[in-house]
Subunit: 441 residues, 2 copies
C-alpha cells in the first residue's frame, strides 16, 4: 500500500505550493488585490466549474478539447473546469441585470484550468487576475483598466523598461484594412489572419491575404501595418505616416494617446498594430502586456468587448477588461530578482525561549498564547534543548525580529528582549512585552 | 443563442460570490489566515485536482461516488477534484521527506468539492481551512492546534457561549471500551458504531453492540459513556466517576485538561466522549467544533493521525490537524449578526468630484492616478452630472471616508476636503492631500 502510494505525484501541469512557493504566489496576488481595491474595483468569484455549455456558446465546440470536462453519474449536466473567467462574469452580470449599480467594477483572481500540453509559461492550472469595467464606454475607461494592470506591475517592482503594454484598436485597424481593399465582411477574417501571422509561412500568408481581396502591394502594406510598433508618445502625424493612413482612420488611437499621456502612462505603453487578440468578441481597444524585449509569452491580455454580456443573455452594455496569469509574470519577476521567496515568508515578531527553569516553562505557553491573541506573530522552539545559543540560532533561522528569553527573572516580572537584527538586548517588564513588539513592527 | 444562454445558471451546490458575498468570504478567510500566521503556521496549497488513486488509497473505492472525477481523452490518468486536503498534505510531506525542517506547521484554505446532495450547511464547492502540525507528539501540540482554531473564531467575534470545541480521545475511549468487554480487534468496529450511533435505531445499536461482545449491561454503559458531556474544567475524579473508569483509562484526557487550562482555553472546550470522527486514521485526540446549542452541522473537525504520512509513503511521524469549512461557520456568524457583509466591503479613502470647470476636469484624472499609486483607495463618479450634491450622495453610497471637491480653487493649488462622517470640510493644499488621506486611516 505504502509502495503503491509512494509513486503518486501531483498531476502533470499542476503545482505543489510549499511555503516559499506560496509566499511568492501570495506576493503577486497581494499586488493584484491592492491595485484593484485602490482603483475602486470590488472582488468577486464564481464556481470552479461551470456547465459545459457556458463555454461552448461563445467559442463553439472546438474549445471542448482544451477543457477538463466531466459528467456526474446519473446523467446530470456535463461540467467543465473554468478555462477563463469572462463567461462566468457575463453570466453573473446577465443574471442580475439592472439590479446591479452601474458601472460594474469587478476583479477576481481564481484558479483556471486548460487541458493543454504543459510548457514554459503555460500550465494546466494557474492563477489568473481578471479586472473588468462594465457600463462605461470610451478611451478613459480603457485607460483606467490599463492603469490597474500597470499599478500592480509597478508595485511588484517592474519598470517601463521591463514590461510594455502593447496596444492596438480594432476600429482603427478595421479602417486601415478597408483602405487596403478589404470588404466589410473580410475584416473579421483579416483579424484572424493577423492573429496567426507569425505562425504562417510567408507564402501561405500571401495566399490568404489574396483571398481577402488584397493585391500583392496591399498585402505588403498590410504586413507592414501589422509590424508597426511606435512609442505612444509619437505624434498623430508620425502614426498616420507610419501606416499610410488618414487622421480619421486612427481617431480611436489618438483618443487613447491623449488619455494615456494625461494620466502619466505613456512610457508604459506602445502601439503595436499587430495585436488583435484571438477571441472574436473584442470590439475596440485591444492590448497585451509583454516583457519588454519580447521574451516569454504575454503577461496579460485584454480589451473592449461591448457585446459580450448581451451574448450571455444580459442587456447590451459597454465593457472592458483583462486577464493576467501568474505563470509568465512570475518568470519575468524571478528573472529580475523581484521574487525572492525566502524573504517573502511572513516574519515572526517574536521567538520565545525558555532557559528550562520551572517558572519559565510554566509561563512560556501563557505568554505565547496572549501575544498571539493580541495579533503578534509569535513562535517557540519544539526542541528538547534549553541551550539559549542553540535556540537563538533557531530564532534567527526563521528571521524572527526579536527573541524573548524567559528565565528566573520572571520572578521579578522581567524578560530579556533581544533585537536579532541589531544584536542589542535589554530586560523589560513582561507586562510591556506585547506593546513593545507591536510598536516595533 | 442569447435565449439558450439566458438559462445557464451556476451549477447546483456552487456559489456566485458578488461583491458583498465575497467581502463576507474574505472576512472569514482573513481571520483564518491571521490566526494561522500569528501562531507560526506557513501557508501552502496543492492542485485543485489530484490523481484519483490519492483518494482511494486511504478510503477505498467507496469514496468515488462522492468525488467529481474525470478522465482526459487519450487515456491519461483519471483525476478527481479534491474533496479534502489531508491526502495532498500527506503526499507533499512524503515527497520531500527528511528535507523539510521539523516540525512542519502548515495551513491552507482552498476550495474543496463533494458530489453530494446540496443541503443546509453542505455544498458541492466550499472553502476549507486546514491547519496541521506534523512532527510533534503530545497534548501540548494537540492544544496548540485547537488554539489556532479558537483564535480565528474569537477574531470573528464568537464567544465560548456561541461555539464549543467538543473533545474526546481515541486511546481513552479504547481503554474504556476494553473495560466494557470489547476485544482489541473490536475497538475499531466499536468506534464506527459510536460514530453512527445517532443514525441507528436503538434495537440495531443493541444488536451491533452484542456483536462486539458487549453484554446488555455493557451496552447500556457504552451508550452512557458515549453520551458523556462534561466541562473541561471538571476534575479528573468527576470524569472517572461519570464514565465509571479508572484514572489510568483517561490519562490522555487528564493531560489535555491540564494544558487546555494552562493556556486559558478551558471555557472554549468540553468533553464529549461521543465524538470519534468517521475516518479510520485518527489515533489520539479527536475534536469537533459545534455551535453551542448543537444547532447546525459541525463547524470544524480534527485530531491526531500519527500514521497518515506513512500511509502515503513517507516516514512515520506524529501529526495533528483540523479542517474548518466556510459554509456552517458563515451560518453561525450570520445568525449572530457577525457577518454584516455590506460593512465588510473595502471603504474608499477618497471620492473625487469635479465641479465641471476646465481645470477640475483636467486635474481629476491626474490626482486620481497619483493617489492610487500612493496606495490610497480613491474613486470617482462615472456620471455625466457635475452637480456637487448628487456626486456627494454617490460618495456616501460607497461609504467613502472623504470627498475631495475639485473646482477653480485649483488655480491657487487648493481642493476642498469634506469628512463624510463628521460633515466638516476645509480647503487644503492639493500637495497635502495624499498625506492627509493616508494619515486619516
Amino acid at each position: 500500500m505504502a509502495n503503491a502510494s509512494q509513486k503518486i505525484q501531483n498531476p502533470k501541469g499542476t503545482r505543489d505550493f510549499y511555503p516559499v512557493e506560496m509566499a511568492a504566489r501570495r506576493h503577486v496576488e497581494s499586488a493584484w488585490r491592492s491595485a484593484s481595491i485602490d482603483c475602486g474595483f470590488d472582488e468577486i468569484d464564481g464556481p470552479t466549474f461551470e456547465h459545459l455549455e457556458l463555454y461552448t456558446i461563445k467559442s463553439g465546440e472546438g474549445i471542448v478539447n482544451e477543457l477538463f470536462s466531466f459528467t456526474r453519474a446519473g446523467g446530470e449536466s456535463t461540467y467543465a473546469l473554468r478555462p477563463e473567467f469572462t463567461p462566468t462574469l457575463a453570466r453573473m452580470v446577465a443574471a442580475k441585470g439592472a439590479q446591479l449599480p452601474m458601472p460594474i467594477k469587478w476583479f477576481c483572481m481564481p484558479s483556471m484550468f486548460r487541458a493543454e500540453r504543459p510548457q514554459r509559461g503555460r500550465l494546466r492550472e494557474f492563477q489568473q487576475w481578471n479586472v473588468d469595467l462594465i457600463g462605461v464606454d470610451g478611451a478613459a475607461a480603457d485607460v483606467e483598466v490599463i492603469s490597474v494592470a500597470v499599478l500592480a506591475l509597478e508595485r511588484l517592482g517592474l519598470k517601463p523598461t521591463d514590461v510594455q503594454v502593447r496596444i492596438s484598436h480594432r476600429v482603427a485597424m478595421g479602417s486601415l484594412l478597408r483602405r487596403l481593399g478589404v470588404s466589410d465582411e473580410g475584416v473579421g477574417p483579416a483579424f484572424e489572419l493577423l492573429d496567426r501571422r507569425d505562425k504562417l509561412p510567408a507564402e501561405e500568408f500571401a495566399k490568404r491575404a489574396a483571398g481577402l481581396g488584397l493585391s500583392p502591394e496591399a498585402t505588403d502594406r498590410f504586413d507592414r501595418v501589422a509590424r508597426t510598433k511606435l512609442p505612444v508618445s509619437s505624434s498623430v502625424a508620425d502614426l498616420t505616416a507610419a501606416v499610410e493612413a488618414q487622421d480619421s482612420d486612427i481617431e480611436a488611437l489618438a483618443s487613447l494617446r491623449e488619455r494615456l499621456t494625461s494620466v502619466g502612462l505613456a512610457e508604459w505603453c506602445s502601439w503595436d498594430l499587430g495585436i488583435v487578440r484571438g477571441l472574436a468578441y473584442y470590439t475596440g481597444t485591444v492590448f497585451e502586456i509583454h516583457e519588454a524585449t519580447g521574451a516569454e509569452r504575454a503577461v496579460a491580455g485584454g480589451g473592449r468587448y461591448d457585446s459580450l454580456v448581451e451574448l450571455f443573455g444580459g442587456p447590451k452594455m459597454p465593457a472592458c477588461g483583462f486577464g493576467m496569469g501568474d505563470v509568465v509574470l512570475s518568470l519575468v519577476l524571478a528573472d529580475r530578482g523581484l521574487l525572492k521567496a525566502e524573504e517573502l515568508l511572513p516574519r515572526p515578531d517574536a521567538f520565545l525561549l525558555s532557559n528550562g527553569s520551572e517558572i519559565a516553562e510554566r509561563t512560556l505557553p501563557e505568554v505565547l498564547g496572549s501575544l498571539r491573541r493580541a495579533g503578534v506573530h509569535a513562535r517557540q522552539s519544539y526542541k528538547q534543548t534549553r541551550n539559549i545559543g542553540k535556540l537563538l540560532s533557531d530564532a534567527a533561522k526563521v528571521r524572527a525580529r526579536f527573541a524573548v528569553i524567559l528565565d528566573d527573572k520572571l520572578n521579578d516580572g522581567l524578560v530579556t528582549l533581544k533585537d536579532l537584527a541589531g544584536g542589542t538586548q535589554s530586560d523589560i517588564r513582561l507586562d510591556d512585552l506585547c506593546g513593545l513588539l507591536r510598536q516595533a513592527r
